[in-house]
Amino acid sequence: MALPSVKIEISKLSKSYETKKGVVRVLDDVSFSVYENEFLVILGPGQCGKTVLLNTIADIEQPDSGSVSFNGDSSVGFVFQRYALFNWKTVIKNVETPLRYRGASAEECTATARKYLDLVGLKDFESAYPAQLSGGMKQRVAIARAYTSGSDTIIMDEPFGALDAQTRYQMEEEVLKLRKTEKATVIFVTNNIEEAIYLGDRILLFSDKPSHIVNEFVPELPRPRNRTSPEFMALRDEITAQMDLSL
């Protein structure tokens, strides 16, 4: 297999915040590469600054030091934990948004939005409003919207954190299904070890604040992965042990 090419180079990122209790260092000299079309999972405990890392990659926040450089298109499709849907727009208008911002024609907007709504199984809900949808459906809309933007990179920030276990499993399948049809580099953040192993081509384990990379795992498990296979459980044990150590 040829060496994968680098899509994003994250180099020596550091970031601190001033709080009432003093200065809190959130990111501590974080460096890693994201490869073209990989599914990279960033795994870490609760409040470990993963969101800050993602916001920095997405250019929503600026680091104190360090840099993020993209090979090619630097736009990202971002999926937020709390959906971030526009409540005043119907489902299809939400999904069209990035195209409309770019000034695409009405026909192109509708056609592309329909395509992605179909891919996430929501084509019958295009004229519903977000308030009428369940949490899982809202997140499907948000994922469709992120893909509609046409960015090479999709970032998902604990996207299924607010969903119940069963919906979470369905959504994980949904995301893997999209991987088959849509070429994109995916950075997926979670605090759920099982989810990380089930989804990731590669897993970066982060420590608690100040966050740094503890270890990297590459699950050599055939897909679809079996959550109860001995290999899966073994990797899960291994990561759990290291996650606990880093707390």
Binding site: A58, S75, F78, A84, N87, W88, P98, Y101, R102, A131
Partner: protein, 258 residues
């Protein structure tokens, strides 16, 4: 909702209004000065048959309506524009906010002498300006609140989706603020009615406030009640129109919960 619930829902407002009417009727029967519901209705019919000083009743109502509508339209446009400017232009806010904060709590009526000196008593201008002052403050403050309290996450979403600053304003911040802006328009409208009646009482020629003022001169409490009921009906009508507008503009607020 089951059937008996629906009937109760329809009956309760009727019962409460009937109760107030009964209380009013009882109070007036104990008192020679206070007109009751029946006298008020008779006075109303009399006013239609024999207009006061030759001005038909509908002219009073329509002049009040005209003044409040003109003031309302100006206050909406100017209030929303200023609220947006406060929300998106930090320097403008730094310069103008202190001025606005001083002016905002002043009662609109305090301006009456000044405005009368400036535009005179005749015509509608003086009243419209006073009503405008009454409405515009609530519109400014609500628009500003709506714009500046937009969820940061929605703005981040807009940025990652490629929105320009202008698109963030017109496609995210403003539509997201419409319910709060409409609430400001409603609050403004009730202050507007207060200012209207007061302005028409002080700068007298016609209008519902003129009728109320007239009732005071002649201890004509029935006429006062006619005026009160006309204000209540007119302001309910305008509020109803605003609610219909809200249904049009914000269908997502009126969804059937699933």
């Amino acid at each position: 909702m089951n059937k008996s619930n629906r009937i109760t829902d329809m009956l309760l407002p009727v019962i409460s209004v009937m109760f107030v009417l009964a209380l009013w009727w009882f109070a007036s029967s104990q008192n020679d000065v206070l007109a009751g519901p029946v006298e008020t209705l008779e006075r109303f019919i009399e006013l239609i048959e024999h207009p006061k000083m030759g001005i038909p009743l509908y002219v009073h109502v329509l002049s009040s309506f005209y003044r409040i509508m003109v003031a309302f339209i100006f206050a909406s446009v100017i209030g929303v524009s200023l609220g947006v400017a406060f929300g998106v232009l930090p320097t403008f806010k730094r310069i103008m906010w202190p001025v606005f904060s001083i002016l905002r709590p002043l009662p609109p009526l305090a301006w009456i002498p000044l405005i009368v000196l400036w535009v005179g008593t005749s015509g509608d201008a003086s009243k419209i300006i006073i009503i405008f002052i009454g409405i515009v403050m609530a519109v400014i403050i609500n628009t500003f609140a709506g714009i500046s309290h937009t969820d940061e996450m929605l703005l981040d979403a807009g940025r990652t989706l490629g929105a320009s600053k202008w698109q963030i304003l017109t496609d995210i911040t403003l539509p997201n603020s419409i319910p709060v802006i409409l609430a400001g328009l409603k609050t403004g409208l009730s202050t507007g009615w207060m200012s209207l009646v007061a302005a028409e009482m002080m700068v007298v020629d016609n209008g519902i406030g003129f009728l109320i003022n007239d009732s005071m001169q002649y201890y004509d409490t029935a006429l006062d009640f006619v005026g009160i009921i006309l204000v209540a009906l007119s302001s309910s009508l305008l509020t109803l129109l605003l609610n219909l507008l809200e249904r049009r503009l914000c269908p997502w607020l009126y969804l059937q919960s699933k």
